[in-house]
């Protein structure tokens, strides 16, 4: 194709992601998006005008060289494109699917001002999928062994990226994971229809091939303590996530049929309850029931769309602010609407009401309006006095966020945490106050994103490497 000029590039319309139709996809757990074809990927890559100052790079939390990899795709050099991404991002097939691009790189893309931004996330996914399907995940070269040993606690995105980088630097890494499977939220939280588990497992296998050792069924703090790890390892990285579900503390929250999103999603994803009785873990039957999910983040969207796939008669999201304030990715909200999820906005539950058998039968909702902005800059919902409504529901799923799990800090009393239990670190080095111990990901920031957790793991890996070279300079 002849070289396009910028005007021509900017005339090309953004290419839509091919996907399963809503009527079809709510009947299965297969991935909704099927990914670009090569022609679509190249055509989309041609939209990028290769800006000199490339604001997209600054918009990316791990500063991927976005114009460079996009140009390589436009030249059909997909292997090279994947390699460019992997310089900065250890899990591109995951991030291409779950990053909130509209808040990051695509938000600041020059084309966004004149129409639609380049579909950077879709292209990232394309390059990563191409590599995996055509040549297999490329295992990066490892530096010669340093003889140093590092323990990584938690096999979520933070731990995985930290482990991968340290292994490349020639260190011997052992990852300890509490659950029977590795991957953290990528495995137990985010559903199959958004992120196939196979993709996560292949990424983790690649780490194992690089010599990273994984020990599952090991709760650090209980099976072994951080101090015991420090006796056997030269450094410890803690990436245990934000895994303690918040409840609303309203009457009736203990009724049967009321779940935390973590329990609901874990039963479905990790324990494969959707194949019950093939898998042994039962799941309260939502078939032909009315399901309400409380919250407005990705977790809420995942839970509500999962309940549709399990056969819910009606599935709704109940959120106390408006759609504009919802923290979920725009694509997830869009997909949920296409699938028939109802949105009940500016409403908050004040009570769950049960039947004589102790099962949930309805929720009492207090209607809200938006008031002044709060400290997060979002307008605070305030109750409209007297405007209360009962709605009949049989399942309630609470998705209002997670606090920090206390096991590590209860068993490592000399580790500094803030009043919410988040581990305190030096921002540029991820060092905690305890010598040889680093931390990153949701346990430090509170519930955030995959890419921020990975970025933290990566920063920690560099800093651990420096520390191992010069332990006296803590």
């Amino acid at each position: 194709m002849a070289e396009l000029n910028n005007k021509e590039r900017m005339r090309i319309k953004r290419h839509k992601m091919p996907k399963q139709e809503p009527e079809q996809r709510i009947k299965n757990f297969n991935e909704v998006n099927s990914g670009y074809t090569e022609e679509l990927a190249v055509a989309e890559a041609n939209r990028c005008i290769q800006c000199k100052n490339s604001p997209c790079i600054a918009g990316c939390p791990v500063s991927i060289n976005i114009p460079k990899f996009i140009k390589l795709i436009s030249e059909r050099k997909h292997k090279e494109a994947a390699a460019v991404i992997k310089i900065d991002n250890a899990l591109p097939a995951v991030c291409g699917r779950v990053c909130p691009q509209e808040e990051q790189c695509e938000k600041v893309c020059v084309l966004a001002k004149r129409g639609e931004p380049v579909a950077i996330g879709n292209l990232e996914r394309w390059a990563a999928d191409w590599e995996r399907k055509n040549i297999g995940l490329q295992i990066p070269n490892k530096k010669p062994s340093t003889g140093k040993r590092i323990a990584v606690v938690g096999a979520g995105p933070a731990g995985i990226s930290c482990a991968g980088d340290l292994a490349q630097m020639g260190h011997k890494v052992t990852v300890f994971e509490a659950l029977h499977s590795t991957g953290g939220v990528l495995i137990y939280g985010i559903p199959e229809f958004r992120l196939p588990k196979k993709i996560v497992n292949i990424e983790i296998e690649a780490l194992a091939k690089m010599g990273v050792e994984f020990i599952t069924n090991c709760v650090i703090g209980l099976t072994e303590t951080v101090d015991e790890l420090l006796e056997r390892f030269d450094a410890v990285f803690i990436g245990v996530g934000a895994g303690l579900p918040y409840f609303m503390n309203i009457p009736g929250e203990h009724l049967n049929g009321v779940y935390s999103a973590n329990e609901f999603l874990t039963r479905v994803n990790l324990m494969k309850a959707y194949t019950f009785p093939i898998a042994d873990t039962p799941m309260f039957d939502v078939k032909n029931k009315v399901v309400a999910v409380f919250g407005g983040g990705n977790t809420a969207m995942d839970a509500v769309r999962t309940s549709l796939r399990l056969g819910a008669k009606r599935a709704m999201v109940i959120y106390r602010r408006t759609e504009a304030e919802m923290p979920a990715r725009i694509e997830e909200i869009k997909h949920a609407k296409e699938e028939g999820v109802e949105f009940c906005l500016l409403a908050a539950p004040t009570e769950f009401i049960g039947n004589e058998n102790g099962w949930l039968s309805s929720a009492r909702l207090q209607k809200m309006k938006l008031g002044e902005a709060d400290s997060s800059g979002r307008r605070r919902p305030v109750p409209i006095e007297g405007d209360v409504e009962d709605i009949a529901i049989q399942t309630a799923i609470i998705a209002i966020g997670n606090g920090s799990n206390p096991i590590i800090h209860n068993t490592t009393p000399d580790l500094n945490v803030n009043k919410w239990g988040n581990i305190l670190v030096e921002k540029d080095s991820m060092k905690t106050n305890k010598k040889g111990v680093f931390a990153g990901g949701d346990i430090v920031t509170g519930g955030a994103t995959v890419i921020l957790a990975m970025g933290a793991g990566r920063t920690a890996a560099k800093s651990i490497n420096n520390y191992l070279n010069n332990p006296d300079a803590w």
């Binding site: 049967n256 329990e263 042994d280 039962p282």
Partner: protein, 286 residues
């Protein structure tokens, strides 16, 4: 994978397992539990650690075959493997020198009470053990219990052995006889624990109950194990499993434990005929 070293049938459908698990053996304290999966795709179930042996690197637990998973587990023998075991989970039992401590175990609860009774004895308490069962054959771990108790009272519902009646009645009898009791630990079916709490409350005897809630992860991540204690939500897996029995809302506990009953029935019924074909198919698909 954890290897089964030894099994022993203690009573009909109640089986003792000794399993290889060195790290857990080293760490566990009385009152803590493990979560296991019998096989890939299996359910995660909590079981209290009854004993451990550091030299052997083994832990012991006792299983009553009531649901699909526990029955599957009970079909295993020495030499077989268990897919996953994680632990020790939960907080250890409260062990202090209270003075006179009564340990009450109903059904397989006797096995769960045993390690705590032993620890209470080692802490210097005068230990009275009350163990209940439907009939003589369900009174388990008698020798072990006797060895760690100053007084030992088996009770049976049908009177085939020991005291004829419920453990709560035996406890009331001891109180009525003027025995000074400083601490009571109750482990067993929910109505029994609630009954014990009701007996001791008027006398203000400190009483703990070890709660057997629904669990998934056992690390505080899912909230499925939540219970109400003193009006507050607690997670049995990280805040418990032992709580002040006078503060526990037993009604909610018992209700929540029934949550999956009908489905578990399905699971068991359909299992035998369904499993072999579908399990293979399920694996091929995913």
């Amino acid at each position: 994978m954890n290897k089964i070293l030894e099994t022993r049938l203690l009573a009909p459908a109640i089986k003792l397992f000794k399993v290889e698990a060195l790290k857990i053996a080293k760490k566990r304290k009385a009152g803590q539990f493990i979560i296991l999966r019998v096989r890939e795709d299996g359910e995660r179930i909590p079981l209290t650690i009854a004993d451990s042996n550091i030299e052997e690197g083994s832990i012991t637990f006792i299983v009553q075959g009531v649901g699909k998973t526990t029955k599957q587990l009970n079909s295993l023998e020495a030499g077989d493997f268990i897919s996953d075991i994680v632990g020790p989970l939960g907080r250890p039992s409260r062990i202090e020198n209270f003075g006179t401590a009564v340990s009450i175990g109903g059904g397989v609860g006797a096995a769960i009470a045993y390690p705590t009774a032993k620890a209470l004895k080692e802490a210097g308490n005068y230990v009275i053990s009350i163990v209940g069962g439907r009939s003589k054959e369900f009174v388990i771990l008698e020798d072990e219990m006797k060895a760690t108790s100053d007084e030992f009272y088996p009770c049976t519902d049908d009177g085939t052995y020991g005291f004829h009646g419920f453990v709560t009645q035996k406890l009331q009898q001891l109180i009525d006889s003027g025995k000074k009791i400083d601490y009571v630990l109750a482990i067993g079916p929910i109505p029994m624990m609630e009954g014990v709490a009701n007996v001791t409350k008027p006398y203000r005897i400190e009483t703990s109950a070890s709660l057997n809630t629904i669990m998934v992860d056992g690390t505080g991540m899912c909230g499925g194990c939540r219970v109400i204690v003193g009006g507050k939500t607690k997670f049995a897996c990280v805040d418990g499993p032992e709580f002040d029995a006078h503060e526990v809302d037993f009604k909610i506990l018992s209700n929540r434990n029934k949550m999956y009953l009908t489905q578990e029935q399905t699971s068991e019924d359909e299992h035998s005929c369904f499993l072999d074909k579908m399990y293979e198919k399920g694996k091929a698909n995913g």
